[in-house]
Amino acid sequence: MKTKATCSARSINLHLKPHRISNTKQIIALIRKDILLEIRQQYSLYGVILYVASTIYIVYASMNQPENEVWNGLFWIVQLFVCVNAVAKAFLQESRGRMLYFYSIAGARDFVISKLIFNLLLMLVMSLLSLFIFTILLGNPFAHLGKFIGIATLGGISLSLVFTFLAAIAAKAQQQAALMAIMGFPIIIPQLLLLMKISVVAFSSVVQEGLGEMVLLLVALDIMVVALAIILFPFLWKD
């Protein structure tokens, strides 16, 4: 009897496989679900926005309008903390039961891709928002604001991808918030340094040597994070 049951379960599973071809559909459905959740449970979205605003206000209150270099450094550090807070809840908010449900209907890979894309969108909004608040409060030191918007976008994407995957790891352990910082900060330092280096071009008309190379490295790192997440994520949800 038991063998029969497992057999039929397996056949159902196999039966489901062809449906998985429409991966993009499932991914879009999962992203839609996340966005709907954000809109309906507005407190968490507003919470992050308030976090952004109050963090930047503290920076403003303590530094007023700093020099370009300080401005740049502060901006990226604030981005780092905003990202940790905005992205951390991606996996932590899902209960165990709901996780199992997603796993059975969507497959681990679709799930992680949907989370990556959703967090990327969330972080894009937060990056641009914090850039806006930064320029209002701490002044607008840019010679090329457009360039910096591009760099902030790229930075937001890089940060969100790395921390989404780390949140997936941290969700498995105890003391999740502390672990996010312990695991994430050393890994993100090189990327933050690259971003700070690249940002220099937006402040004045200097020619930054090896600029294209550094942007390419960042993009390559992003692609690698996505690839690693897709390959490694199924191992995280095996239990």
Binding site: V162, F165, L166, I169, K172, A173, Q174, Q175, L179, I182, M183, F185, P186, I187, I189, P190, Q191, L193, L194, E209, G210, E213, M214, L217, A220, L221, M224, V225, L228, L232, F235, L236, K238, D239
Partner: protein, 225 residues
């Protein structure tokens, strides 16, 4: 091969050679400042070779663990990472002592100092992560995932960033070559000590790791049996 003794004898011989010839060999006198402190090259740089090789072995065993789970691969992965950390710390300390005399401070925020510190922080985090998981199987699996992820995030940047930044080390921005050491710059008399030193220290690091692995395996057997 690991159980054979010839490579252990070789490690011993090479390190004896390093520790004697390292202090006796003729060195070129470039300026009044560097002088004999350049001999630190035989002790400081091989630590990084050791660390890097051990971390690579560790990540290979992490991949093996994920493909084919078993406690053996996990023990190997952990112990190689652990000895790698020891060698990394030794590398930082030997570098810092030397830097105090040559650069005027133990720590001067050089890109390679930062890179090495970041690498160590990442592997410390690996052990914190493992410590925060209770289940052995989970510990091994999630540790392996983080090990692989961190390795691929770290290595491109640690090999690339120092090359485009200004640095007190050889091989920084403007000068050609490997970030650690420029092989072509090395005097021939130093070369015949340097490479044996690298091989000797690396073999020693593997030797230490195999001892730890045997200890861990015995402990596991004793605990489970």
């Amino acid at each position: 091969m690991m159980r054979q003794s010839w490579w252990k004898i070789l490690a011993f011989a090479l390190l004896m050679y390093t520790c004697t010839m390292g202090f006796l060999v003729d060195i070129p006198r470039l300026d009044d400042r560097l002088q004999h402190s350049i001999r630190n090259l035989f002790f400081h740089v091989p630590m990084w070779f050791g660390m890097q090789i051990l971390f690579i072995v560790s990540v290979i065993y992490a991949v093996i663990y994920l493909v084919k789970p078993g406690s053996k691969a996990d023990t190997y992965s952990v112990e190689f990472a652990r000895t790698g950390i020891v060698f990394g710390v030794l590398g930082l300390v030997t570098g810092a002592i030397w830097a105090k005399y040559q650069w005027g401070a133990y720590w001067s925020g050089d890109p390679k100092q930062n890179g090495a510190l970041i690498a160590l922080l990442i592997y410390f985090a690996y052990f914190v992560l493992r410590g925060s998981l209770n289940d052995d199987e989970k510990k091994a699996r999630i540790g392996a995932v983080y090990n692989i992820f961190a390795f691929f995030m770290l290595i491109p940047t640690i090999w690339y960033l120092p090359r485009v930044s200004e640095s007190l080390h050889p091989g920084g921005q403007g000068s050609e070559g490997n970030p650690g050491i420029d092989g072509r710059d090395l005097a021939p008399s130093m070369r015949i000590v340097f490479w044996p030193a690298v091989i000797g220290w690396t073999l020693l690091s593997v030797w230490i790791t195999t001892l730890r692995i045997r200890l861990r395996t015995l402990q596991n057997k004793w605990l489970n049996g």
